[in-house]
Symmetry: C2
Amino acid sequence: VRLDAEPSTDGLTTYAFTAGDVPGVAWFPPDPDVPLVLVGHGGGRHARHPAVLDRARSLVAAGFAVAAIDAPGHGGRPRVPGIEDAAAALRRLIAAGKPVGEAVTALNGLVAAAAVPEWRRVLDGLLRHVGPGTPVGYVGLSMAAAIGIPLLAAEPRIRAAVLGLLGDEAVDAAARVRVPVEFVMQWHDAQVPRHRALALFDAIGSADKTLHANPGGHGDVPAFQHAASIMFLRRHLVHRTRRAAQ
Amino acid sequence: VRLDAEPSTDGLTTYAFTAGDVPGVAWFPPDPDVPLVLVGHGGGRHARHPAVLDRARSLVAAGFAVAAIDAPGHGGRPRVPGIEDAAAALRRLIAAGKPVGEAVTALNGLVAAAAVPEWRRVLDGLLRHVGPGTPVGYVGLSMAAAIGIPLLAAEPRIRAAVLGLLGDEAVDAAARVRVPVEFVMQWHDAQVPRHRALALFDAIGSADKTLHANPGGHGDVPAFQHAASIMFLRRHLVHRTRRAAQ
């Protein structure tokens, strides 16, 4: 990938890239020799959504390089008929105040199937840029967890992940995950019933996994949880790098 | 309370005290103007148990004053017939490999009823020593959570607590707790069935509560969880003190 610096207004330079036909953005701290965290976005959002930018800014401040891409059918990418239909079906249910679980699962499945090979190609390109031995982490909640779980099951270069806001639709791939996972759930999530989130945490195959649950709905993950996730990524990506270097 | 310094071998001075007939120990960081954390011990242990000393050492290093007392019938305190009988019944069940849930609940209830007024008197004495406006936290897992929940329900001077390794025996008092709580559970706890720990977390009345679950049994709380608990106590006790002072 070729990284193109964009003019910065706040001191954090955004680098745009394209991997094949997948547009993405990356951010770097001053120290070049740091782990890389891939950040996924939620359904209907994109790589430059404020939630992704906030997460990227705090990760860079904590000493990580960060990359995000637009998911299939999202952001500036061409619409995909199957994904469009599933998203429209979901919007109709939300408008009607009906349960959305099955429609979210269907949409997530379509996006994840297309997104996993894309992330792997993006990672190929980014690792050529930051160095092939760079420790890599993944952060993705909601739709980005539905992508992240099969990605982790398929991609040995990702060493730790923050996942969550997802139910047990993904248990088969989750059982194949082996790297440390911090799983985030919201105790009153109307989109993901509590028992289904707990079942997904239970299914994750990693010996080292930790569950963080907080009150509130799908969109109410507290700021301190983001800080805890940075601590988790530092524990598994930064401290290991330093130990390995000693 | 009068604090008597004991000879120190590792740079951390232990101060012994007695409040009424309750023996306790306290530790202090160099800065005197810091929050105080009360640390409870698990069943069969005491205020100078290695698990309490480890917790105290890391809390003092993080800038907290720490105090611990022997629970009723524990440590150097006289045995209490009712507690002795309940503990013996529990030991018989453990030896026979039988379920211990009801016996643990019975023992916890007896100890907690006696311990709550003791902790409140100890807190009276400690606050005279460290200053009446000192922010106070509580850390207690297992039996110490069974004590901590009714203590928090009764004692407005405790502003935040780390609790856990307990089931829903304590839901009525838990519903009256209003201060921030970090609730710690072990995903494969043979003493506390998973659904009962989740039910207790659900019952806690605090708007600000967070659940941390990790794989393993009752005694397998990982070291990183203790670090996360310190972060939680800093967020609620230290940062608030500083904001209030500005």
